[in-house]
């Protein structure tokens, strides 16, 4: 009996010390890991949407709670003003959800650009929704009052040949992002009013 207790104690102590140490390391690297993930996964897309902005939109981000989820809003500064925001939403693609980052001008309520962040579409076919610049350029400058659909569904977006479902997924993701933006608009505008950028370049 005493032996068993000793074994039990040894493993318990080891596990407890290791668990405590790990949670310490985890909490001290968390912010940095989040930044790195955003930079490498969403960074390139975000940079293209916010072309010509005067700050680093990854650092200048804030979160808004929607129900249980937290939505991240990236802020782009143009002419010294926090003019644009970008947020991510998902739409169902051919093989899984397609994540799309949508940039919106908060003054004019027009789309300044979109870009696909994560997807698992077929390489060379559906994956072109991410790589084809003419496809994503179609969204640029359109007002957010409309619902986006591919032409096969009676909409305004030319689908990528052979990838109607993926293209539809992107349209749905954009619609979801716009719906989210409309819902959060008062809160976003309130936050932008007193917004202080940490990375502003003149």
């Amino acid at each position: 009996m005493r032996d068993i207790l000793k074994l039990f104690l040894a493993v318990t102590i080891f596990s407890a010390v290791s668990g405590g140490l790990l949670s310490l390391v985890r909490s001290s690297t968390r912010a940095r890991i989040e930044y790195q993930q955003l930079k490498f996964v969403k960074g390139p897309t975000l940079k293209e949407i916010m072309k010509g902005c005067q700050n680093d939109p990854i650092t200048d981000r804030f979160k808004i709670k929607v129900g249980k989820k937290e939505e991240t809003i990236f802020v782009g500064i143009f002419n010294g003003q926090p003019r644009a925001i970008a947020l991510e939403a998902f739409g169902k693609g051919f093989h899984g959800p397609i994540g799309v980052l949508v940039g919106i001008d908060v003054k004019t309520n027009k789309i300044i650009g979109i870009g696909v962040t994560t997807h698992s579409e077929t390489p060379g076919v559906g994956a072109r929704v991410k790589t084809d610049p003419t496809f994503r350029a179609q969204f640029k400058g359109l007002p957010i009052t409309q619902t986006f659909k591919v032409k096969a569904d009676g909409g305004q977006i030319d689908a990528i040949t052979g990838a109607t479902i993926s293209s539809r997924g992107v349209c749905n993701a954009v619609n979801n992002a716009i719906a989210l933006y409309k819902k959060l608009r008062p809160e976003i505008l309130k936050r932008l009013k007193n917004f202080k950028s940490k990375t502003l370049r003149s």
Binding site: L7, A10, V11, F14, S18, Q36, Q37
Partner: protein
Amino acid sequence: MLKRVFREFIKGLWEEIPPFRLVLGLCPTLAVTKRVEDAIGMGLAVIFVLTCSNVIVSSVRNFIPKQVRIACFIVVIATFVTIVELVMQAFTYHIYQALGIFIPLIVVNCILLGRAEAFASKNGIIYSFADGLGIGIGYTLSLTALAAIREIFGYGTFFNIPVFGPSFKPFSFMVKAPGAFVCLGLMLCIMNMFKK
């Protein structure tokens, strides 16, 4: 004593160099030696984990009941591996992505458990430190050598810098899995020739 510390350290560099002399940890050896950069990243991770786990295992070797020693060793190793994983993710994200699953798999790498069981659980802290550092550096050197050969012939680059002219046609067999086996086999063969 200093002489023995030195001996424990130096044996990892030739006499017991993994994975050639100590034929352990072959899975990551074959998988991460496509590029020198990844090999060094993996090597550094192993050096850190091996040295730390050796020191900890050696310092608690008299308290651990014999029946549960393996479980305790694995907890120690897994803790350090997770620390490496988090730190890599935070500071060198692209290497973390290139190494992928092989970082968490260091936990089940036989070199680590092997050194803990065969050396650290029987020897003092300073010797265990020297042993871990030596074996770790030896492992890094082996990975780097293997990766250098594979990267130079397979991609025509070294550390992502082109070494041949533009007319070079990459020998892509080298960076595929069979190329890893052949390359490792040839290197083992050459090392055995020197041994005799």
